[in-house]
């Protein structure tokens, strides 16, 4: 068995410490954690005893080949997948199960395929992200904040989302997620199907969100090279199991990705 030692161990020692707005060290255990999660779609075992977590302020990637169960990880958090075993912990307490309650807890989800509302304008799409916000001034503040990060949304705010390019729709999807002012942002394949130059832009924006808004981010990605440049840690999934957890450097220097993506050896 040539799988690295860390496999199936979600915690990794010595993450780079980051200071939050109060100036104290932030890595004090996971803010969001999956513990022994299994998800079954009928006979298909999408996740099998998966444990992983993200600490406050971190950017963590979930990587793996097609069908590995990456999206299912995020769906399990959002209450959108049939979880048969295990528990999701949020700030060390079990997370409420109902999908519509999760955003109030401070978790926003940007689904695979963007899924913006094409028959609504950009501004209306963004407003969909902050339902429970009654305070008009705060809503405007958030709109301004999102538009500052994504100037393209500002200039097209009255256009229908259907009139935007794929990259712009992805920015809109990110912006819509940010309108909830989440503590944790879950991103599912934000660069899928985008041109290389746009891919870079999206990764830059993700870094910007992390640096400036101090948002904790869990990002599912196909684009390994790009995502490893912007994350603090990464979990590698294969066939519904965690096969590696480590820093980008640890991953680059191991041969885990070759195993998983090229199937040179049966990684667990």
């Amino acid at each position: 068995m040539d799988t690295p030692q860390e496999s199936n161990q979600p915690q990794i020692p010595n993450p780079p410490p980051v200071a939050d707005t109060q100036g104290k060290a932030v890595h004090d255990g996971p803010i969001l954690e999956l513990s022994g999660i299994s998800v079954h779609y009928g006979a298909v075992i999408a996740l099998n005893d998966v444990s992983l977590g993200v600490r406050r302020g971190e950017v963590v990637a979930v990587m793996g080949p097609n069908g590995a169960g990456k999206s299912t990880v995020l769906k399990a958090i959002m209450g959108l997948a049939p979880v048969v075993a295990g528990e999701v912990f949020w700030r060390k307490a079990p997370l409420a199960a109902a999908t519509h309650e999760i955003v109030k807890e401070g978790i926003a989800f940007v689904p695979q395929g963007r899924r913006v509302f094409t028959h609504l304008t950009i501004e209306e799409n963004l407003e969909m992200g902050c339902l429970h916000l009654k305070d008009k001034a705060e809503k405007q503040r958030r709109l301004d904040g999102v538009m500052r990060i994504f100037p393209i949304l500002q200039s097209k705010r009255g256009d229908l989302a259907s009139a935007m390019s794929g990259g712009q729709q992805q920015m809109l999807a990110l912006g819509r997620g940010l309108m909830a002012a989440p503590d944790v942002l879950l991103l599912d394949e934000p660069t899928l199907g985008l041109a290389p130059i746009v891919v870079k832009e999206v990764f830059d924006k993700v870094s910007e969100i992390s640096d400036e808004l101090k948002t904790t981010i869990m990002i599912v990605e196909h684009n390994i090279k790009g995502v490893l440049d912007i994350v603090d840690r990464a979990h590698v999934l294969d066939k519904g199991r965690i096969v590696f957890t480590g820093t980008p450097n640890a991953i680059r220097s191991s041969d885990i990705l070759t195993h998983v993506f090229l199937g040179k050896s049966g990684a667990s």
Binding site: H100, E101, P111, H119, M128, H132
Partner: protein, 351 residues
Amino acid sequence: MQAETEHDRSFTQIVRKPQALVAAARNNVELWANLLIIGWALGFMLWQGVGFAITVGTVFAIWAILSVSLNLVVGFTGLLSVGHVGFFGIGAYTVAILTSDAKYEQLRTEAIPTFGWPFFAALPLGVLLAGIVAIAVGVVFNRFRDDIYVLVSFGFAIISFNVFLNWRNLTRGAFGIHEIPRPAVGSWVLDRELEFLIFALALLGLIMLLSWLIVTSSFGRVLTAIREDEQAIAVFGYRTTHYKLAVWTISAMMAGLAGGLFASWTRFVDPNSFILLESMLLVAIVILGGLATIWGSLLGAMAFVLLEEGMRFLPFLPAIHIGQARLVVLGILLVLLMLFRPQGLVGRYRL
């Protein structure tokens, strides 16, 4: 569902190249649909005279209330329902039972109690009752996936028809309810057809206004989002089942209103007016006019009524075959429309 943007051609382009006007006009199906149907309606009126136009207008108003209200559910929210006729029937029967003062003893058929309420007291109750039934039914419906909705609503239409037919000591079953009075305010009775037409059009205007307010509100935007991607909106904290239940109930209450209007207009109701086919026709009207457009539902209803009434005048068609003929023609029209213009006459979305 795809957006249609081809109609948003810039005006300046046409001015600069006049021949583009011809091309634009040829492509502007919406404009042609509007002109055709409105022109057809006007021509019909001139040809058959005002009396007939008043009848057609009233029938149109009732169908238009139904189709605009159904469009809230089918078009704006994306829930295909063929159960609308049930709420139409509840409104009609409530008004019929409460307002009728028929002397059934003289008719020598089954008697039911008569109440002799005024129309304007019975109508709100009919609307309310349709709403209450809609909430009860909707709570059950919300347990189903959207693609099952149509089947469940089918079941509702069948059940409500059978209640109308078989709850005989309330509805008199197949005998129907007679002597339903026209609306009255004090001593002023709306018994002239023109007065009733104006009343019906006023109610239609009210329903259109209400629908417009709904679809342009933030509530309406959530409905649009639900139609597009219910899961994506649920993730942002929206309890989509509540929104669906709300619009379903509002729509049902509008259908109940149309029912009350219908009962008072025909002055007689029996279960035959509330068969499943009527619901199917209504869905066809909504699709024909265009999903998620209030104006489209008006056009659809108008086209349908003109078609139906117009066939009476085909010289070669024996009267007894009119019913089938209009269905055949409507069926052919629908097939053609789905082939060449799946978004309906003036719609932007496909089913």
